[in-house]
Structure formats: structure tokens, C-alpha cells
Amino acid sequence: MVVVEQRCAECHDESAHKGGLDIAHALRADPAARLSAISEIRDRVRAFEMPPSDADPMTEGERSALLLACDATLAREVPLLKPSPGRVTVRRLSRTHWDRCIEDLFGVASMRANAFPADDLGYGFDSIGDAMSFSTLHLEAYLAAAEDVAAQVFVDEDGTTPVRTIEGEAMDLVRGPGFGSDSDVAVLYANATIGAAFDAVREGTFRISVHAGASQAGDAPTRMMVALDGRELAQIDVTQRAPKAESITLPIGTGKHRIEVAFVNDFWDPDNPDPARRDRNLFVDRVVIEGPLEPRVAPPQQQWIAATKTMTFEAGARAIAARVFRGVVDAEHVRRLAKIAQQRTEAGGTRSEAMRVMLAAALTSPRFLFRIEPPSQAKLAEGAIEPVPPLALASRLSFFLWSSCLDEELLAAARNGELASTRGVRDRAMRMLADPRADRIASDFAGQWLELRSLDSRTPDPAMFPGFDDALREAMRRETELLFLAVMREGRDVRDLLDADFTHVDARLARFYGIEGEFSDAFSRVSLANGSDARRGLLGHASWLAVTSNPTRTSPVKRGKWVMENLLDQAPPPPPPGNAIFGDEQSVATPAGLRAQLAAHRARSECAGCHERMDAFGFALEQYDAIGRHRFGPDGEPIDASSTLPSGVRVDGVVGLRTLLRDDPAFLRALLRKLFVYAVGRDASVVERLVLDASIDRSAMLGPVRFADLIGIVVESDAFRLREAIR
């Protein structure tokens, strides 16, 4: 490290201590701190950020000698570091995990999961045990959702069609002055709407029959309107006095619905000589809802349920526990569940009800809701390193790669010792990656890494961006997920994420992008090899360009920050002490004006540190507007999308930025670190970061880096397979 001491110590010595770095001190520090200083020095010199422009420039020879020396030291010494695997705090299932587990275990979905409190994110992910809170509100939501799932799994259907009858007089007034009742019939004497809620246990065809009669007056017949969930189903003329059924048959989805019946043409003619023709009223006797008319077909995931029908409660409890508790079944808990079922039947409940309570209890248990990694049986000293027990390791794999609970095959693999070796873990991970369930990595990992999940909450100004709706949001998100999947599934180099010469569009997105050709509602791949460069790779995707914009305009600062944080894992440095002020861009109408404002902003020394790089990245993307459309100046001229990094390197538009990022080893390191944090459930330590960087750097030297390679590095890491013992 002589080169470093010679060249850098002038400013970075004990007295000047520039940038908080004292080289001599850093190089004598413990190995982790020393190597992390060397890594930082290498990166800054490599990016031409050091030495600064006001210092003596380095000759090319000095520069390469320094970089070589740093690389050699890191390559030699980092592998000797032994990062502690640490101990991961018990993790609550995220909303996504809960959803996926329920889907995989039972083949059903609960709308109630929508009501779960938002998951607390740590380091941008919902899989961080320390960050995830629990409160009574969570418990209530989990309990209600568990009951909902149980009702969909243990159903009382005996082959006959379920029928629900709602008496007219029991319906509530939705609109209008009121209604009377006469021998159990609702009398609508003026224009009014009455309604009632009902549950559809599953989707299917339903027959809704309104039993209604009417009195007549005036020329028109009495008219009734029937609506479901606020949508009109039919207008029906009711001409007879005695109630008669009017039926409507239609498909209805699972969940809560609301039926409404309205009287819409009130008429009163007090002077009519015939007293029976003076008042037009509607009488609603009852509403009968039959359905689903199709017999129930249990999803394949529920095949085991049929067998529980003839089991003892104890055996039923064991069957439930085996699935819901991810392989950990203890006798005490089985007894407890069986007892609940017993109590339920003693209180007059049916067998299905008893099974339902058991399942609800299992799904509310901490053994389901938390990912508990049981203590080892061996008596180890506090802090000693031990392997993660096989079942817990299997769960780590399934939540990482499938966002879900483990299945029977994985359970068997854990039980027969397959996960005992590093090799075994890797092989299993590769097989799991080949499973369709691994597609979820695109929405669950990439969706969080690239902040695609935030698209839902972005609300561009409709006056400026008419037509930006949920369908477009969905299409944008899907495009990015599909690029990710293409890279993952086709064994491409992960840097193709930055410059793939293809993308995926449906008709909507093709229209939005102005891509010509025939497209449908389904996504298809389009080659960009010969066309415009605008949509190549992630940087040209409208999804994240929209996520990082303000409602009325682009934000080069936010885009630059997104690039730094997510693609390079370089958080903007904090402002110098005493300068907590950090402004945002000012209000300006044009990109050129914005550019001028930001230039002024950077001229303030306290802002420059953060903003020089961020802004430079953001400006390179100024040819995309706030929802990611390619844009031009007022006279159709191209928008200035060039910028200069603090190092003096020029970035010219999206093409320049793409090349810059693709060649920057920080991109691969960032992706690996993010994947590590997502998988392990905590931040990487300084030492772990060095080790991860070294392994990805090595991998990159050997050729293309595939997503599977990154998965391999993560699952083989000590942090994934080992842990510190606690007593």
C-alpha cells in the first residue's frame, strides 16, 4: 500500500484529515476497517473522484499501480475474513408471504389480506425482522383473515345450492324518505332504494330473485330497479299486486356484495275516480340469492382436506399442524387444537365449524405468523457458530425463492439431510429456482428493489397526463418484471437488465411508447435491436421513471438518487455537519429552467457533495417526462440530457448513463447486496460487504454473471446457512 501512502497521505493525514480519512491510521486499523478503507480508496480513484481537481493530478501509471495494488490486497486478504453470520431476529410473515402461503397451502385467497396494516420496510424490503412491528391491529387483521380462509377451506356444502333469503322489511334504507312494512313486506311508497349485504362463499353463477308486487297509478307501470354493488342489473316493470319472483342470473365473485332494490317512478294522482289507481307503490316481499349454482370443486391444494372429514380431531389437528407450522409439529399444540374443536362441538357447532376453528387457531398461532428458528439442542457457548437447523434453513430457502411456506418435497429434503452441506443447499436452491414459484422473485424482490410497488401510490396530475390509470400502471410494472424474468429465466448476464435489446409490451404500453406493430392484451417481446434506443434496458422503463417523479414534473434529483441507491448502492453522502438544510428543486416550468436552478443549487457548497452525482445521473434522463414518455422541447428540438460527473466524466443522455452503469462494478455489487439483505433479513455488515464484493468481482472476471450465480453466492454465504448460538 506504499502507493496509497505516497499519493494520498498528504491530504488524508492525521492533521488535515480530509474527508474524515487518516490514511496512516486506516491502514493500521483492524483488517475489516483497513480493507474497507482500501476498497473505498479504490472506488474513488477508479471513478476519477480522487485525487480532486485542485490536487496534483495522477499519471496514468500511478493510477493503474494504485488500483492494482488495492485489487491485489483485497483479493488476497478479503477471503481470509470470517464475517460472523450473526443472528436474525424472528420475522413476522409479510403481507406478501402470508398471501402466498395461503395460496400454496389451500389454493384460496383472502380479500381480507388487503386490510393488513402496511408492512414496515427495512432497507427497502419487507423481509427485515427488526423493522417489522406487531400490534393488536395486526392480530385482529390476521384473526379475521384466518377465519375467512377457514370458511373457504372447511365448507358445509352438501351438494345442494346455498340459498340466502333476505326479507324485504329487514333490508335497510339506502336512499329516499323511508319505507313502510305491511305483513313482512317492505312498502316503498315513494322513490327509495333499499339494500342488504350478503357474502358469496366462492365465485360462480348466482340467481338473484326479487319477489315484488306493486300498486298501479298513472299511465306507466310500476318500475323497479335492481342493482348489485352499485351497478344496475335490470329495470323491471312490476304489473301485478301479489309478489312474484323476478330472477336475474349472473356471475359473482367471492366476497362481500350488496344487493339493492329501488322504486324509481313514484306517482300520485289523488283525484283519480278509482281509489285503486291513485297511488303507485312498490312492495318488496323478499330477495332470494341462490348460488353458486355450480357444484364446488375443491382446488388441488385442498385434496388432503377430504381425508380429514373422517379423522379424529386429534388426527385432523396433526394434519393441519403439519402444513401450517412448516414441519414443526409438537404434541402439546396438537392437543390444544383438538381441544378447541371438541369445545366447539360441545357448544353445538357442526363438524365443519369445529375444523374451521382449529384452522383459524393454527393460522393465528405465532408458529405460523412468525418465522421462528428454534434454538439448537446442543449446548453451545454464547456466540459459537452453528448451522441453522435444517427445517429453518428450508424455510429460509422457500421464503427467499418462493416468497412462501415450504412444501412437502422441500420438507423431505430437509429431513433427509440434503441441506447439511453447502453443496446440497446450492443444488436445492437451483432446483427451486427452476420452479414456477420462483417467478415471484420478480414482483417480490425486484418489485421492492426497483420500487415498482410504489407505482400504485403515484398520482400524476390528470390535467397534464390524461389517461394515466391503473391499467397503465400495471402495464408499466409488468414490463419491468418481465425484463427481470427474461434475464433470470434465460440465463442472461444480469447486466442485460441495463441494456437488453428487447422489451415486453402489451397493446396499451406499445401505444404509450409509440412502438409500432400489432399487439394484444397479452405481453409480447419486441426487439429493439434496430429501433430507437429509448426503451433499451431498465433505464428506459416508464415504471421507475414515473415512480421517481413529482405529480406535475420530473425530478432529476429523485431519479439520480434512485440510481445511486438502487443500482449502485451508494447512499448520497450526508451534508457536512451543521448543514442540515437540504432543499429540493424549485418550481420551474421547463427542463432548461430546472437545470439552471439546480446548477445554482449545486453552487452552494453545502449542497454540492450530495447533488453533483445525483443531479448528473438525473439529467441524463431528462428526455423522459414525469410518466416516462419520451419528450422534446417546445419546438420539437431534443432536450439537453448531458451532464458531467464530479470526476469530469461526461454522461450523454440515457445511452451514456447505460454504458457507464453497465461498466461500473458497483452495479453487480449493488444487486448482490440487495439480494443478500432481502434473503438474510438484515443489513450486511462491513465485513460481509467486502466478502460479497470480492465474490461478485471474482465471478465477473470469469465471464457472464447470471442471476442464478447471485442466488448461489447468497445461499452459500455463512449468513444464510449459519448462525450465532444463543443460550
Binding site: 427495512g122 432497507y123 455537519p577
Partner: protein, 443 residues
């Protein structure tokens, strides 16, 4: 050197105690008893409202100290309840400042808002700030109602990303902290809030079905409790702490269900705004205020917090003809267009708050109105959104002391001092909170 006597806003009791004269205490308590004996004492309710992104201070702060004569533009909607309002200037949240931690003022503004503590900067591991004043109060008086406290907000958490400059979203999205490392999740669906308190307005369970549901829930929770206890014995350290929170939740929910099994309270009709569409922000805001009023009126809880937005909220207020994002606008740089947007948003928030206070005023409670029985602190953890400063905060106090005036405290008077006064009024015995140096004298 300044003596405590010169510190305006310091409560007389604190001053007296400061010089060793505790004699005043019994006298004051006797006074309080006398007040109470004039009629049936209504239970005291307390609400904390968090407004994101600061305020347009030049149109918020009254021109003169003392009696509230002319209300500044942003406070004009409060005219009908002026006598109940104390506008307090000069309070500071020191915990919101950087103290060497760099950017992240929005996250810190929310995290320190009710804790009056400085959050540890972390993206996830080792969250730490402090117990919030509402949770402290709930731990003392919460057992007497079905819900020890309610936590409500208008925005769910972020779906992705780091919320603010290296701070975990837990800091930006919560103001209630049950312990120094555990935030309390908030409910953001008006309809779900109603259902939680009074039952699902659309489920229409009959007596038998309701009884069966409650009984089944009891047995589910019993099993969960037993399960968590046996697990906790096997786990150590942080794992056990996580499980302890689960255990507490199970116990709280069991207590609530037990109470429900005994009572036959009729549910009030669901307010119509409860069913407002997701996009109708104004209606949903009114619905939340109405639900807080209902919760207080029916004594479901006596402590609530309400976040009008998460810290740094960038919501656009299109219905006010303000399409830009709130946070974006708050960095106004004195641009007239942006200032106009901020002004409209600030004014709207105060209008809805004023309507809520009038709703409380029109409801009887004990021998007075619900407003008389309620203390509200409405404030922002940032003063000017463009400067991100955490001193001279915009603060309204309702029912904490004498209203109808503008109180100007010495610079750097901790917000915690106001909370000490709030705690005392609500019957707490706490003498200190967070970084408090005493209690505010609110007369």
C-alpha cells in the same frame, strides 16, 4: 443568566416546585375537585393530530401575543371555537434535529413528534426512539375502555424504498410508539375503523352468530396465548421481545372480546363518509374525524392519534386545484405559485379540523360538551417546510388550558413541556416526559 421565573410558559406549579415550595399542590388538586363536583365529571379524552410538511408560518402565526383577536388566514376557520383554542408559538422538537445524523428531517419529525426523543438512524435494525405520550397515557388509563388507544392515519405506509434518507419507514409512518423500539401500526381505512369499534356494518350477524363468533375467537386466542407462552420460554433476546409484543396483543384482544361478550351496546349507524371511495380524500378525512368523535362519544377509547399524512407526504390535493405534491410544494423557495398551493392545503386541513371541533362541541358529555372533555394537540413536527426547522413549531392546543389566546414561549421550550401539561390534565401522575424541563402554563 436567565432565571426560571423569566421563562414564559413555565407552569406555576413547576416554578414553585423549582424553588422547593410544594405547598401549592394540595391546593390545586382541591381546586380541580371543586370543578369536578359541579357536575358529573366526563372522562377526559386526548387526541394528538400530526400534520406533515410544516405550515406556511407567516399566515399561521397570530400577529400579537395574548388574546386571539384577529385570526390569521390559516386559522380563520377556527373562529367558531376560538375560545377553546390556544395557539402556541416557540415550541421545539430537539429530537427532530440532525445531531450529526445528516438529512432525514421528515422521518425525524414524525418519530420525535410524540416521543420527544431523537430517533436512532437506521434503515431497519435496532429501531429506537422512545415511548410516545399517547401510549404512555394509554398504559395508565387505557384499561378502562375497550381500546386502550386508537391509532389512525390517512395514508398507508410506503410500498417500497427507503422512506427518508436512511431512516426506516417505521419512523415516517408512525407517531405512536408503545416502547422505544416498537411502533404501533395505524388503521387507514375508515370502514375498517368503524368495523373494529362497532362491528362490520355489512355483516349483519344475528345474536346467536355473534355469540358463536366471539366464543370461537376467545378459544382461538386462548390457544395462541398458550402457544406464545410456551414458545417464549424457548427463545432468547430480541426474539423473545418480538413475541412479547404478540403476547400483549393477544391479551388486549382477549380483554376486548370479553367485554364485548358482556355488553349489548347497540352500534351507531355507520357515518356515510365511511364508505367513501379511496380517491375521495376529503370525505375520508371527515370520516376519520367523525370516527374519532364517535369513539370518544361512546367511550371506546380515551386516547387517539391521527396522522393527516405520513411524514414527507407528497399527496396531491387536486380537489383544491393543487395538483402538485404536498412535500414538493413545501420546498417552496418563496415561489408564489408553490406558496399558494401550500396555503390552500394548510387552510383545508384547518377547516376540517375546525369542523371536527364543532362536532365535539355539539355533543353532550357529562354536564358539558364533548369538546370540554377533550384535549387536542394539533401540530407539525416541522415549522417551515422549506427550512426543515424543528423549532417555533405550529401548535394548536385545545382544552389543555385556557383558550382564546396566543401563547409565545421562549425559544427552545420543549414540545414535551406541553405534553406534560396534557398528561396531567388527563389524570396522569407523570411529572416529566421526553426532554421536558417542566410543564407549560396554560392557565
Amino acid at each position: 443568566m436567565k432565571s426560571t421565573f423569566q421563562n414564559r410558559c413555565l407552569d406555576r406549579r413547576t416554578v414553585l416546585r423549582g424553588i422547593g415550595a410544594c405547598v401549592s399542590l394540595p391546593f390545586l388538586d382541591a381546586m380541580e375537585r371543586a370543578v369536578a363536583s359541579r357536575g358529573v365529571a366526563a372522562p377526559r379524552r386526548t387526541l394528538f393530530v400530526f400534520a406533515p410538511n410544516g405550515k406556511k408560518m407567516d399566515e399561521w402565526r397570530p400577529k400579537s401575543e395574548g388574546a386571539l383577536k384577529q385570526l390569521p388566514f390559516l386559522l380563520e376557520p377556527l373562529a367558531p371555537v376560538r375560545d377553546h383554542i390556544a395557539v402556541i408559538s416557540g415550541l421545539a422538537l430537539d429530537g427532530g434535529r440532525a445531531h450529526g445524523d445528516g438529512p432525514g428531517d421528515h422521518a425525524r419529525a414524525a418519530a420525535s413528534f410524540l416521543t420527544c426523543a431523537h430517533p436512532r438512524k437506521t434503515g431497519g435494525a435496532d429501531l429506537e426512539v422512545g415511548v410516545s405520550v399517547d401510549q404512555l397515557l394509554a398504559s395508565e388509563i387505557g384499561a378502562s375502555t375497550r381500546f386502550p388507544s386508537l391509532e389512525l392515519g390517512m395514508e398507508r405506509g410506503a410500498a417500497a424504498g427507503i422512506c427518508d434518507s436512511g431512516y426506516s419507514c417505521a419512523y415516517s409512518n408512525n407517531v405512536s410508539w408503545r416502547s422505544k423500539d416498537t411502533p404501533v401500526a395505524k388503521e387507514t381505512e375508515p370502514r375498517a375503523v368503524f368495523a373494529r369499534m362497532f362491528g362490520d356494518p355489512e355483516a349483519a350477524l344475528d345474536q346467536r352468530a355473534r355469540a358463536a363468533l366471539l366464543a370461537s375467537r376467545r378459544s382461538v386466542l386462548d390457544a395462541s396465548l398458550a402457544e406464545a407462552k410456551s414458545l417464549a420460554r424457548q427463545l432468547g433476546g430480541r426474539d423473545r421481545a418480538k413475541l412479547a409484543v404478540y403476547l400483549d396483543s393477544v391479551r388486549e384482544l382477549e380483554r376486548r372480546i370479553e367485554r364485548e361478550q358482556q355488553s349489548q351496546q347497540d352500534a351507531p349507524p355507520a357515518p356515510k363518509n365511511v364508505f367513501a371511495e379511496r380517491g375521495d380524500f376529503a370525505a375520508r378525512l371527515d370520516a376519520m374525524y367523525e370516527l374519532i368523535a364517535l369513539a370518544f362519544e361512546t367511550d371506546q377509547t380515551r386516547v387517539a392519534t391521527f396522522m393527516l399524512g405520513n411524514a414527507g407526504s407528497n399527496r396531491s390535493y387536486r380537489f383544491l386545484s393543487v395538483p402538485e405534491g404536498h412535500h414538493d410544494l413545501s420546498h417552496h423557495g418563496n415561489d408564489p405559485h408553490k406558496l399558494a398551493g401550500i396555503r390552500a392545503i394548510n387552510r383545508f386541513h384547518v377547516e376540517r379540523f375546525a369542523a371536527f371541533l364543532q362536532r365535539l362541541q355539539s355533543t353532550k358529555s357529562g354536564s358539558g360538551t364533548l369538546l370540554d372533555a377533550t384535549a387536542v394537540v394539533y401540530a407539525s413536527g416541522i415549522s417551515d417546510g422549506d427550512r426543515h426547522n424543528h423549532d417555533d413549531l405550529p401548535v394548536l392546543a385545545v382544552g389543555v388550558g385556557r383558550g382564546g389566546r396566543h401563547l409565545v414561549c421562549d425559544k427552545e421550550t420543549p414540545m414535551a413541556n406541553l405534553f406534560v401539561s396534557v398528561l396531567r390534565r388527563a389524570g396522569s401522575q407523570q411529572e416529566r416526559f421526553g426532554d421536558s424541563t417542566g410543564a407549560l402554563d396554560l392557565g
